[in-house]
């Protein structure tokens, strides 16, 4: 269970997912550099075992699951800072769904709650809480 929650960063990082931040930086460099790499990412089945990528290496990818669906957390509230902070990168950005595995309806509520929490100074707009 604990491993499952750790691994979601893997699909974004092409070289291997040690951490969430690593996955993010990888994604960013993709967007800046060769976009052809991005194209191959699109049609890939979400969370499914990935095909061979650059270097011919194959990665085993655990299926990502939505934390809110699994733990049956229905109330995504702006007051629950501890919960929301799990889905905010260190830079203060909302972590994309492809990294966290949150399902669309929950991501929608989550992003709304994060934005509300930012407005009342519970979460930072940029950077981490000092």
């Amino acid at each position: 269970m604990a491993e499952e929650t750790k691994t979601p960063s893997a699909p974004a990082a092409s070289t291997g997912g040690e951490g969430r931040s690593e996955g993010r930086s990888e994604g960013r460099s993709d967007a800046r550099g060769d976009r052809g790499d991005r194209g191959s990412r699109g049609p890939r089945p979400g969370g499914g075992p990935g095909g061979p990528r650059e270097g011919g290496r194959k990665f085993f990818r655990r299926k990502k699951v939505c934390k809110f669906c699994v733990e049956k957390i229905e109330a995504v509230n702006y007051k629950d800072v501890r919960l929301l902070a799990q889905f905010v990168a260190e830079s203060g950005k909302i972590t994309p769904r492809r990294l966290t595995g949150v399902c669309t309806p929950h991501q929608r509520r989550l992003s709304k709650a994060i934005k509300q929490a930012r407005n009342i100074a519970l979460l930072p707009f940029a950077g981490r809480v000092q």
């Binding site: 049956k72 229905e74 109330a75 702006y78 007051k79 509300q116 930012r118 407005n119 009342i120 100074a121 519970l122 979460l123 930072p124 707009f125 809480v129 000092q130």
Partner: protein, 135 residues
């Protein structure tokens, strides 16, 4: 139109407790006199995620109320006028609460049906179990 809202506001960290209580009670009385319901929760001093009005921390207060939109208008006006309040946010909660209620109902119903089916064969055992204790 009866709706429920919650207003969270932050006051300056150096605000005296009696002043805060006074502010809350005036807000509550203004809401109740307008025909609404009010409840408040003081979260206490907390660190702010970013600097607000040159403060790094503030006293957080959650003010839960029910009523019409004009009540919200009045409360927000009061908060804006009060200099001690450095930030506030109003969130409408009734639709979310309704949604959560609905989900809870569905889950309870499902639990009942799943419990009811195994309960039928269990009942004779349950009947025999308390018997020794009484005897």
């Amino acid at each position: 139109m009866n709706r429920s809202y919650e207003v969270m506001f932050i006051t300056r960290p150096d605000m005296a407790e009696e002043d805060l209580n006074k502010l809350i009670s005036t807000l509550e009385s203004s809401v109740t006199s307008a025909g609404g319901t009010a409840k408040s929760e003081v979260w206490g001093k907390r660190r702010l995620a970013y600097k607000v009005a040159k403060f790094h921390e503030g006293i957080f207060v959650l003010f839960i109320m029910g009523g019409t939109g004009s009540i919200v208008h009045e409360v927000e006006r009061r908060l804006r006028v009060t200099e001690q309040v450095i930030k506030f946010i109003t969130v409408r909660t009734d639709e979310e609460l309704k949604r959560l209620d609905k989900i809870k109902k569905i889950r309870d119903a499902r639990k009942k049906t799943s419990v009811a089916t195994p309960a039928a064969p269990v009942t004779p055992e349950a009947g025999t179990e308390p018997a020794p204790t009484t005897a």
